[in-house]
Amino acid sequence: MDFQTERYSRQMLFKAIGPEGQKEIGKKHALVVGVGALGTHTSELLARAGVKKLTLIDRDYVDMSNLQRQHLFTERDAEKAWPKAEAAKARLKEINSQVEVAAVVAQADAVLLEALMEDVDLLIDGTDNFETRFLMNDLAQKYKVPYIFGACVGSFGMAFTIIPGVTPCLQCLIKKLPMQGQTCDTVGIIAPAVQMVTAHQGAEALKILSGNLEAIRKTYVSFDLWENEYLSLKAGALKDSGCLSCGENPEYPFLQTDREMKVAVLCGRNTVQIRPAESGGLPLEQLLHQWRSAGLEVGGNPFLISVAKAGTKAVFFKDGRALIHGTKDLNEARKIYHSLVG
């Protein structure tokens, strides 16, 4: 048995994959958007499984609070504040030197992601916000590439496989950008919830990459590991022929750059302004409640709330707009915004 055959022998012994499926996996390129908890787990899994290429995209760097649930990273990565995509790439190369890994340290916006789509076979969700998820959802539809959605918070999580032309898309399932304020920064997260999501994402990825399309899960999984709950929900009825993302006359709204979240430094001030893609507005009262119970220092009035966070002060308005005082760094401001709103 040669080196590579030995390496993947247990995966090839699994009948539904076999040597043929392994060969298929070895030709495939997956784009992992977000290299945090979900993204590090799925990219480690796919590197070990022997995909041809992984592209990892993340704007953030490793910090101490990531180590509790984000694989691939060590204390040294946190001390050096290494970019997540680069730190992940370095470790993945030690794990499987045969896999091509491209690290992109940047904001995953529409222009960048479209430029990366050329030979991508699969989109994997590792992001921490719905803005980027809706963008990935549009990309999946426009380029006819499967997209494996996943998300988690606390002990709760969910996963769903979106196959263009077959299943409903994320926009069919969730009409509006959800802004509930439950994020890992407000209600925490335990690592097993991450693993539970990536176990589902990983199995779906192996089915898709090995050509076992008939095995793909048709249900939306939602679970709570602390409450010992597991739901597998049929989703087909939500497929909407009028959907602007996957319907008969798609417009891919999140690929329209004029609809993107606007992030800009306010002229002459140490403040970044953020205007979200949709102007559905923010449920200020609910957010106030979430942030207060997360132990954050909160103030405000009926028109706005202010929150102290990581040395900055973030002010949120009812119309969805936010000002992040104390920084001129656009990525840091985005990070704070998503860590508070989702």
């Binding site: 998300a151 988690c152 606390g154 959800p178 802004m179 509930q180 449920p283 979430q290």
Partner: protein, 77 residues
């Protein structure tokens, strides 16, 4: 009566994991509006609603004894 199962923050908001509501005859959209108005769940915008383990559109009419689940999408990752 209909059992409504709550998950994640909805469970916390209500302080219980399920509740009983008379929903038969209502559409899913009407139930959503009813719960927003009559309970402390707050806005259910973006919350997905499943009837008997199947997601249902807002027009779907709920029947007696149907089991309903409110699934909040969460954003972490």
């Amino acid at each position: 009566m209909n059992k409504i199962m709550l998950f994640a923050q909805l469970k916390e908001d209500m302080g219980k994991s399920s509740m009983e509501v008379v929903a038969a005859g209502k559409t899913v959209g009407e139930l959503r509006a009813f719960l927003e108005k009559e309970t402390s769940l707050g806005s259910l915008d973006g919350i997905m609603i499943a009837v008997n383990e199947e997601f249902a559109k807002d027009e779907w009419i709920i029947e007696e004894k149907d089991e309903i689940a409110l699934i909040p999408p969460v954003s972490g990752g």
